[in-house]
Each structure stands twice: as C-alpha cells, then as structure tokens.
Symmetry: C2
Subunit: 592 residues, 2 copies
C-alpha cells in the first residue's frame, strides 16, 4: 500500500513566494491569497489522499472490463467519481456561465497535480473531459455550448478526443475516418479510432466524443480534416441522453499501465455527428487546446513521480540495511536506515531536485497561460508556446526516470507488484508517448517554436535568464551556487541555438538530429532558472525572518544540488548537438 501526501506547502511556496499570484493584476487572481489557496489545496489533498489514492492499486489490479459492449470500471471508481463531481473538483477552472467555478488555470493545474499523483488512471476521465470541454468552449456554437458544457463541467457527461487510427498516429494526414454531410446539417461518421482514453465507461450518463474525420472537398492530408461532436447517446430536446448513436467499443487495449482507464478501440458506423468549428479546420481547432493538454501531460510526469518519490523517501527512512560509513547512525538498532547511505541520498536528491523544479516550471507556464487568456498577453502566449514541448517532453522523460529511481530505492521489493512502485513506473511510462511522442515534441520545439515570431519568444526566455542573474548579482550566496551555473548552462543553450541557425540552412537534418538533446538542454536551463528564482525567494524569506526556516533552507540546499549535479548535463547535450547530423544519419537502412 502506497502513501500520498499532497505537497501543499511546496505548491503554496511556488504560488506565493515565487510567482506572487495574488499580487498579479489579472482577473480572478485577486481572490488567490494564501488563505484561500491553502483551503483549496488542503481540501483537494484530502480527496486525493483519502478517496483516490486507495483506489490506485485497485484500478491497476482489476483494470477495466468490456462486458456486452459496455466498459466496467474497477470497484469503487464510480462512487469516487461521484464524490469528486459533488465536491465541485471537476469544475474548478471552468466557465461560470456553464456551472464552472471560474478559477484561473494556475489553480486548476495545482489541484490537478494532487488528483493525478494519487490516481492518474482515474483522473484521466476528468482530464479528457476537460480537454473536450475546452474545445467546445473555444469553437462551439452557442447551441452546442448550451447543450454540452453544463453536463461536461459537472462530469455528468464525460468527453474524449479521437485522433489516432491504426495506421495514423503522429501522421494524422493519413486518417481515413469519413464524415458524410446530411441534409439536416449533421454528418454521418464512419471509421475506426484507436487508443481512445476514457472511450467508454460506467461512470457517466453520456460520453461526448470529439472525432477528427475527413469531410468531402477538403483536399489531401491534414487540410481535409474537420472536428466533430459525436455523442454516445444523441441528446434529446429536453437535454437528456436519448437514442443510442451508431458507435461502439471494438476492444479494450491491454496496456503496460493506467489499467484503471479504459483505452478503447472505437468503431463509428455511420454515427451522427456535428461539426465543431470550421469545416476542414479541424487541426487548427485541435491545436488551440494543445498547449494546455501538453502541459497537462507534463504535469502527469512530475505528479506521478512525486507520489513515487514520497514512498521512496519513506522507505529509505524506515528500512534498516547496512551501516553508515561515518559511524552507526542507529546504534541501538540492528542496522541504520537506508537514508544514511550517500548513494541513496544521491538517488533521492536527484528525484527531489527534479520534482520541485518541475512543479515550479509547470506552474509558471500555467500562469503564463492565464496571462495569455485573461489579459491577452501575446508575449506570455509566445513564451508558453515555446516552453510547452519542453514541459511535455522533458518533464515526462525525467518523471519516468524519477519513478524508476524511486522504485530502485526498494531493491527487489520494488519489483513486486504489491509494493506499488512498479505501478508508478508502468503508469507514468505512457506520458512520454501520448499527446505527441517526445520525439515529436522535440521536432515541434526545434522545427516550429524556435523560429516562431522570428525567434522572439526564445530571445524573451534568454532575457528572463539574464534579468534573473542581474537582479541577484550582489547576493554572494546565490552567485556561486545558482547564478554562475545558470549563466554557463544558458550559454550552452545559446550556443545550440546559434549552431542550429548556422547549420540548419545547409542541412535541415542537422537541427533535427539534435532536436531531442536540445529539448533536454532547454529543460535543464528552464529548471535552472526556476531553481534560481526559488532560491532567491527562499533567501528573501529567510532574510525577512520567516518562521519556517527549515523549509527555506532545505529549498536552498535542494536547489544547490540541482545546479551542481544536474545542470552540467547541458555541456553534454551541446556536444551531441554540435556533432551534427553525420553520425546520426551515416548508416543505410539495411545496416540497422
């Protein structure tokens, strides 16, 4: 049985000490004082620890079952879903016009971390619904919004995103699902979709599928794609679910993890659907939600890893094995706790220093999304657009590594399913793959985002780094531990950008061959920036005589670890990037 404690103190530190959210001039932010966010996070943490965490192993062991065409979720899921719904947790950052609580996304993200960490497979039902809600909210007609949104805000109806087909994953241009226009303005949707998370289940009255399909006249490739609303039950005039639509679950996938979430093969056999947004502009409609969805996956990366870390730290404190080399730490016991051993510390510090940096980065990005949405801040939008593939790719790669580190602390016991550490590793593995595999994130970063707006967002990021260094340059303690390493790492990132600019014109493969390393290089610098900000905030708090000195001192020590032991990776990433395309592309296909 695993434990989970909501990291409320740490989130509060980021929201208030680092981002000063209640001091920001943004609509909806004025209510976000320490007391208010503390109450929200404590209450959400209680649901996470008491209701969702105990169901995490149940979901893994039982999985979902397909019975006579209907998906049954694991024992206890439905009751828990009702509880989450009734507590209003599905509506946090939704539009009050449709029953939402209207809080900023930065709060939605923070609450989302706790729910995800305690039970990722469970929380995905709500997460997918939120994605579909956002799409309808952004692109739906007034009628569509009135019909679907209130029920989706409350999760009485849940939502899905139907993109992938057996032969078309990353390459959506090849998809074959067809939409035939009908005289009444609706379409008949025919085709097969795979990997549909939360595709069907027994926890809601209706499932609202958003389906990418090709309608006549749109041309080849992604240009011909439109997005359709295809409900499981057609909605009657009085707004309740009526006739069953012509769609069915073809199969449930057997996956490495997230067994508690139903991953469906969906068959559409002339199912009735309605165009969402403009005809043949389905890809654009999808992409408007992409930043939020991808940051949501980055969140899964550190959230699940944090749950794994908490268990590893607890085990390292409790498990007695061996003696400290510097003298017995537990002389009255048969052995010392694992945590006395330097290599166990190295393991735990790798985890902790990543997790706290990741949380800060994702929360900052959520705040940038708020700036972009609530204040039409184009600069914030450009920056978060640039950072999104980094958050998705880097945080999930490192989140997975972190979960593996946590599992390793348990030795052989970590390999036994009942211990729960294997589930964290198996669950988190998918975050590197779905919502755009991490290689695709790297391609998006280097191939599109880096050059967007003539490179302005990238320059803006470098300015922020420079500003941070300049602001604190007289602080002796920050200089050696934070500012110098950040400067070095940032120079590596600049050198990589320069290299791509110089070489990319000659051979486009050069930038692509270095794209994955660039994503990680960027990720390290971004976390270095976050740690510098956090260290500065901790220094201020200590200087101002904050009571919780232990917390701020541990924050500084954890940050120093990241800067000293993780940030040097930037040099290796730069060296790889500079080796160019030749080593990567040298072999003929038959030589693999």
């Amino acid at each position: 049985m695993t434990i989970y404690n909501a990291p409320v103190r740490d989130i509060q530190f980021i929201l208030h000490d680092v981002l000063d959210i209640s001091g920001q001039d943004l609509p909806g932010y004025e209510d976000l004082d320490r007391e208010f966010t503390d109450a929200i996070l404590e209450a959400a943490g209680k649901v996470a620890s008491d209701v969702l965490a105990p169901l995490n192993a149940v979901g893994d062991q039982q999985g979902c079952r397909l019975e006579n065409g209907v998906v049954r979720t694991p024992d206890g899921f439905k009751a828990a879903f009702d509880q989450v719904r009734e507590g209003g947790w599905t509506a946090i950052d939704c539009d009050p016009e449709y029953g939402g609580q209207g809080m900023p996304y930065v709060i939605g993200l923070s609450v989302g971390e706790l729910m995800t960490a305690s039970n990722m497979a469970f929380t995905m039902y709500q997460g997918l619904t939120h994605g579909a809600y956002s799409a309808i909210h952004a692109h739906g007609t007034d009628g569509q919004k009135a019909t679907y949104l209130p029920k989706m805000v409350s999760c009485e109806w849940t939502g899905t995103m139907n993109l992938t087909e057996p032969h078309a994953g990353t390459d959506l241009g090849m998809l074959r699902t067809r939409a035939e226009p009908q005289d009444d303005g609706s379409y008949l949707i025919t085709g097969q979709k795979i990997f549909i998370s939360a595709g069907d289940h027994d926890m809601s009255e209706n499932v609202i599928h958003l389906v990418l399909a090709k309608a006549p006249g749109g041309g080849e490739g992604t240009k011909g794609i439109s997005l359709f609303i295809v409900p499981k039950y057609l909605v009657t005039e009085d707004g309740t679910p009526g006739e069953r639509n012509k769609l069915s679950v073809g199969n449930l996938e057997h996956k490495m993890g997230i067994h508690g979430n139903s991953t469906c093969v969906m068959n559409y056999d002339g199912a009735k659907g309605w165009l969402l947004g403009d005809l043949h502009k389905g890809m654009r409609a999808m992409f408007t939600m992409m930043n939020e969805a991808r940051i949501g996956v980055g969140l899964q990366g550190y959230a699940v890893a944090d749950a794994a870390y908490q268990n590893a730290a607890a085990y390292a404190r409790e498990r007695l094995q061996g003696r400290a080399i510097t003298g017995d730490a537990n002389p009255s016991g048969p052995a010392d706790p694992l945590i006395v051993h330097p290599d166990i510390r190295r393991n735990l510090m790798d985890q902790k220093s990543f997790l706290e940096g990741a949380r800060a980065l994702a929360t900052w990005c959520a705040h940038l999304i708020d700036r972009s949405h609530l204040a039409n801040d184009a600069e914030a939008e450009g920056l978060v657009s640039l950072l999104t593939p980094v958050v998705k790719g880097f945080l999930t790669d490192k989140g997975f590594e972190t979960a593996v580190l946590a599992q390793q602390v348990f030795g052989g016991h970590g390999y036994i399913e009942e211990q729960g550490m294997s589930q964290f590793v198996r669950d988190i593995r998918i975050t590197m793959t779905y919502e755009g595999a991490n290689g695709v994130q790297a391609l998006d970063l280097v191939g599109r985002k880096l050059a967007a707006e003539g490179g302005k967002p990238m320059m803006r990021f470098f300015d922020l780094v420079k500003h941070e260094i300049k602001t604190h340059e007289t602080d002796e303690e920050l200089r050696a531990g934070f500012l110098e390493p950040l400067k070095t790492a940032s120079k590596d990132l600049q050198a990589a950008v320069m290299f791509f600019m110089e070489q990319g014109m000659k051979n486009p493969n050069t930038a692509l061959a270095g794209s994955y390393d660039f994503m990680h290089l960027f990720g390290h610098v971004a976390l270095g920036l976050m740690w510098t900000r956090m260290a500065a905030a901790a220094r201020s708090a200590l200087t101002e005589g904050a009571e919780d000195r232990d917390f701020f001192q541990s924050k500084l020590a954890t940050g120093r670890y990241y800067m000293a032991r993780q940030l040097p990776m930037t040099a290796t990433h730069l060296a790889r990037i500079r080796s160019g395309a030749e080593p990567v592309m040298a072999l003929a296909e038959n030589q693999f």
Copy 2:
C-alpha cells in the same frame, strides 16, 4: 509477436576480429576457430529463435502458478527445457568430468546471450543451475560433486541461490535462517528466504537449493554465515531423488516482469542440509562465483535490449508515418518509413552503439575470466574483478534505457502488451536490482575494487587505454573519430580517481557520493576502449580487402556515433563527482 535473430555475425566479429580467440594460448581455445564457433552460434541461434522466442510472450501472459504446493510453469516450457537439455546447451562450459562439454566461458557467455535475449525468464532456470553448479564445483567435496554435478550439468536437476530474507537484502549480516548441526554431519535448516528465482517448478526431477544460514559459533554479522546444499528431494544411495525434504514454497511473487520464472518465498522447516565449503565461510564461497554471476546479469542487460532493438529497427523500417524533411523517400507510398526521421535514427543509433559496445565488453570480460581460470593469470583476474561491477551496473542501467528507447519507437503501440515491447522493459528492469542493486555495484567498485591490490588493476586499465591509443596513433581516420575522444574520456576517469584519492581520506562520503557517477564514467570509457578496438579491427579488415565491407563500414560508423554522442557524458559525470558530498548529504532526514 516479436522477432529475434541471433547476432551471430557480430559475435563472430568480436570473438575473432577483435579478441582473436583462436590465436590465444589457452587450453580449450585451440578448437575455437571461425568455423567451429559459427556452427555453435548458428545452432544456438536456431534454438533461441525457433524454440525459446515463441514462448517469451506465453511465459509473460501465463506466468507461473502455485498449485497444491507445486509450481507449474507456462505451457510449452517443459518441452522446450527438454529440448535445450537434449541439445546439450546446458552443459556448454561445464566440466567434462561431470558430463560437461568443457568449452571456455567465452563460448558459454556468447551462447547465453542468444538464449537470454530470446527468453530471459526461461533461461534463468538454467542460469541459476549453472551458478549452483559452479559453487558446488568450486567448494564441494568429491562426494558432493559426484552426487549433484552430473544431474545439474544436464539440468535434470536444477539449482537455486538462497540469500535474501524479508529483512535482509543487501545486508546479509542480518539474516536469521539457522543451521543446527546433527550427529550424522548434516544440518537442519530453518528459516524463510524470499525472491528465490527458479525456487520450484515442474521441469526437473529435483531442485538443489544453496542456502546461506547461520550455524552456531560463527559470531555476529556475515562472519557467522555458512553455505548449505539443501535438496528438495533427499538423494538416495543410488543417486535418485528420494524422500521429500522439509522445505516448501510459501508463495509465488507477483512481479513487474520475468513472469515465466518462478520467484518463490521458500520456507525451510528443519530441512536437511549439508555444509558446502568451510564452516562460517559461506560469504567467501558465495563471492567466488560473484564475478561470473554479475557478468551474467550484465549480459541479460544487453541481451534483452538487443531483442528490443531488433524489433524497433524492424518497425522503423516498416511503419509508414510522415515524410523525410529532405524529400520523400517513399514517393509511391502514403508516407515514408519512420527510419527516415533523424530523431528515430538518433534513438536507434543510441541503442545500436551501446549494444555492440556492451557485447564486446562482456565478451572481453568472459575471456579475462578464462585467462584467470585456465592460465591462472592474476592480472586478468584483477582486471575482471575491477570491471565486474561496471559490467553489471552500467550495462543493466543502459540496457534498461535501451529497451525503453526501443519501446518508444513504437509510439502508442509500444504501450500495448500484445506488441511485446512492454515485456522487454518490464523483464529487463530487474537486472538493475538483483545480484546486488546497481548502487551496491557502485559501492563495490569505489569502496573495494578501485583500491584492490594497491590500485594495480585500475592502473592496468589505464595502461590498456594508453597502449590502444599509441598503437593506432598514425591512423588518421582513427585519430579524430576514436583516439582523441577516448583520450579525453580517459582523462576524465583519471581525474575522478585522483579526486577520490585526494578527498576520500578527508571525508569517506565524498567517494561514495560520487560512486554511481564513477561507475557510469568508467562504463563509458570501457565502451570507448571497446569501440576503438572494434574500429581498429574493422579498419584492418577493410585494408586487407575483406569481402563483407558493408559490415565493417557500418561498424566504423556506429563506433563514431558512440564516441561523438555518448562519450561526452564523461565530462558531466566528472563534474558531478567533483561537486563532492556536500550537496548530496546537505539535507536532514526529515527534510526529504
């Protein structure tokens, strides 16, 4: 359904072009010409591909079952085990006096790779038997050898190693299993052991357990430990299994992977056992087999990863998705194969360049073990003793990473169990943990091996590197691509050794805090040395007009990739090591 093709060509290259085994003056090596080893490897590869590989998924899906105290293996395992046994594959490098084929270990290792890659869980039954065989062969009385070895060589009886107890994993000094001496010279063994691989099953007539236990009078900690032979069925005078011994399977563990191998909780309730080797010298008896056992686990790391790689490469050639940025590679098809994309190449090259280097390193170590055993070469023994934790720790960490990379090539399909890629990842995960967790390997390396014999083996390794660089310094093509990077990386390794020497005296935690990075730093330099040797061998073959130019050219290109893109990691590892113990040990236990 996964594929597996024995990499015979590559193993032959290492055995003959790189190690020139038939030119070595060692007993048993005189027969090992190209033709002979080719015949052996082709035949073993056929068993691996045709018999074992098809059972790999079966073993994963069915797992083992405990029925009325007896473990049932998955369908087809017993018939396959008979086939392996009848083919003589269990006896390859065993002593002819007991029915073995008497081949050197270097051949045993090469054959072992093929069996392990095609079905790791299955091959462990034989691997554990081989470990127990080696222990009895090294420490048994003539009577014990005559009683047990012939049956174990043929695997009519299989063997196990019983070390771990619930509260004693790495720290064996705490174990509680007791051995009470009896008047007839035997002992009664009482206690519980966990994580006993191949602890019981239905494929052999008897199971010979080797059990660590405390006999009276041995003192505290590991000093009081002895090793005992405890057969499942007591052997009668005519050498056949007779009365059932007082031991039983308490439970079968539910594991993340290797489901086809029975991992047992073993209960000994006054079971009859016989001392193996000297009283109270059980740890020493265990450790004599440790090098071989740990290199065997390192082998599992690259063997399973190679199977994963082969499937990823095949998928990347077949799966059509997206278009090459440099122009359509498959203009008549709907899309280009994945393999045109630079980041897919980067992924595959990371795998391939690691795997081939790992195979060379492990094979070289097997050869060093042969030198040590067959020619009493103390220098070889010292060197392989130093390299063993590197082979175990580095190759399994990187093997796991490689399997994850291979899974990633499949996108979402890699997460679906039926595809088989998840099994590779789940199976290989245990190699980082058992036979001494990799953190313990790092501790062994830095805490014991580095200073062994006054540091002579470490100096010997540096001499080998220098010699390699000097030998080829006039070869222009090798210089830039191989010799220079190897020199740089080797200097990083030397700097790390110097740092430990200078700092280790002041604070023992300094070396331990850097031990894991040191193991990886060493691993990279060792693979750099292997790649330089392989590149030199490939250059010679090309110069001498070898027919198979494609093979040797791809070898050079793959090596250049490793040197350019993997070896730069040494700088990061050195930077981490030099950051010392302070960042690692800064937090109080309650701050985690």
